[in-house]
Amino acid sequence: SLSDRLEAVFKKLKGQGSLNEKNIRDAMREVRMALLEADVHLDVVKSFIARVREKSLGHEVMGSLTPGQQVIHLVHKELIHVMGGVNERLNLAAQPPVVVLMVGLQGSGKTTTTAKLAKRLIEKERRKPLLASLDVYRPAAMDQLATVGEAVGAKVLPTSVGENPRDIAKRALQSARMGGFDVLLLDTAGRLHVDAELMTELVDVAELVKPTEILLVVDSMTGQDAVNVARSFDEKLNVTGVILTKTDGDARGGAALSVRHVTGKPIKFLGTGETVDGLEPFHPDRVASRILG
């Protein structure tokens, strides 16, 4: 583990002494390796290490913590600082129906997460959400949303054959208004950030329905590509938050740091399972500990 590796770096430094240039350099090499193994993007690691190095220089090694533990403490503290100390909630402060748009790469967990959010809105926030699928491409995508949506007691917009995503979005907004729904959750088709046509489709939909939340759904086992995806989606849409899914596995989840670093947007929730109650508010300290391994 990182703490064992740091102990090895510092085992010559006993009792008093400060973290200096030389032992910091060795320690930072270990931290760099740990973060890369955790899938944090290389550029993000470099900038992160530079900050931690600065904070460690001249730091007095005192008290009951070993130098290795002190470095871990500084790294952990900086990780939490970067990832957003306070966990932010879903922004529902808008004229109803508040529109939430779910976006992200193929298979990241958007449809499942839409149902999880609906359950949370119904049970915890006492809201009445309407769910709608804009996914006209994936076989049985609309069936999937209808099934999981109804399973949590949410209304799902009925589908109409041959409709395009822009028209479905308009119809969904209208139905949400007419039906007195407080929130409109829009599930979209998975797409590549480099697919110009599909990214334009998303920009057009956002223009039509003016979402209060645009949530980027990211698979927690994503590797270096997380920065490319996050940057593109954020540049085109100005996302308002991120949801990291499949955190019930053993992926270290460094994508969380990469995405946060590149977009500055808050990670709002974590997907913690396949069932509809597998959603938790983002806990920066837990995610930080896991990245460190």
């Binding site: 390796m33 890369l36 193994e37 955790a38 899938d39 993007h41 290389l42 790469l105 193929q106 298979g107 990241s108 967990g109 491409y137 994936r138 076989p139 049985a140 995508a141 069936d143 999937q144 099934t147 999981v148 399973a151 590549l192 950030h193 480099v194 698979d219 086992m221 994503t222 590797g223 270096q224 590509d225 997380a226 490319n228 995806v229 499949k246 019930d248 596995g249 053993d250 992926a251 270290r252 460094g254 994508a255 396949e274």
Partner: protein, 279 residues
């Protein structure tokens, strides 16, 4: 830009390692590959940056070719059973649709088993793919026993003389032991019908996955024995570099890559093309 002329110094080697890390090679593999490429370069006449680029490509390709396996022989058992497994959302069901079309284009009669009896609309999704390629899909609907569906599909494949049976399974995280047990059960059931089945067990990996791919391969391989990998979503910007370390560690061939969401978007894995796409 990285390779135009110039000499091969420590700075270039570090830069190359960085490039590999950003392609998801992983720190250890990136550094080992660059070291090996440098040794290859040292044995050459020309030692400039361009030669280093060649050495790097040759090294990576060599690692991938070492575990590459030829096309499956045509004299096969009937039905030839392919079990498709992997974690959630990687592209198993879509890959099966593409594989079915691929085998059919070689005049093989393909049957599909809707072994995902868990996720919402999973059976409907596979049925749609079956329609697209004109393949029969054996299913029992949601919450049926997955092993029982696969059992029925095998019986149908054998009775009606199908050439290939492809079994879809529910996505599952490799860390969930009860779900891995379900896979073992499916394998046992197939083994009782034909001791050599499944003849191919494909683990599907998402091309955007980072170092967690190692844990995925490890756990699935330990549980049921994997015979080949499929890397999907390489039509995005992810490079899938983790396969280089995987080939070293597990000696498993990459069979196919997925390069899109359509029926035609499957390619047999070509190490040369893969390396070209890296840089």
């Amino acid at each position: 830009e990285l390779f135009i002329g110039g000499k091969v110094d420590e700075a270039l080697l570090e830069e190359l390692e960085d490039q590999l890390v950003m392609a998801d090679f992983g720190v250890e593999t990136a550094s080992a590959i660059v070291r090996e490429a440098k040794e290859r370069l040292d044995r050459k006449q020309k030692k400039d940056a361009n030669a280093m680029r060649e050495a790097l490509r040759d090294t990576i390709r060599a690692h991938l070719e070492a575990v590459e396996q030829g096309v499956v022989p045509s004299q096969r058992v009937h039905p030839w059973v392919i079990l498709v497994v992997g974690v959630n959302g990687v592209g198993k069901t879509t890959t099966i649709g593409k594989l079915a079309a691929f085998y059919q284009s070689n005049h093989e009669k393909v049957l599909l088993a809707a072994g995902d009896t868990y996720r919402a609309a999973a059976v409907a999704q596979l049925q749609k793919w079956g329609e697209r390629c004109g393949c029969l899909v054996i299913s029992q609907g949601q919450d049926a026993d997955a092993a029982s569906v696969v059992h029925d599909a095998f019986a149908a494949a054998r009775a009606r003389r199908y050439d290939v049976l492809i079994a879809d399974t529910a996505g599952r995280l490799h860390t969930k032991s009860n779900l891995m047990e379900e896979l073992k059960k499916i394998k046992r059931v197939l083994g009782r019908l034909d001791p050599s089945a499944p003849h191919e067990t494909l683990l599907v990996l998402d091309g955007t996955t980072g170092q967690n791919a190692i844990s995925q391969v490890q756990k699935f391989h330990e549980a049921i024995g994997i015979t080949g990998l499929v890397i999907t979503k390489l039509d995005g910007t992810a490079k899938g570099g983790v396969v280089v370390g995987l080939s070293e560690k597990f000696k498993l061939p990459v069979r196919y890559i997925g390069v899109g969401e359509g029926l035609e978007d499957l390619r047999p894995f070509d190490p040369r093309q893969f390396v070209e796409a890296l840089f």
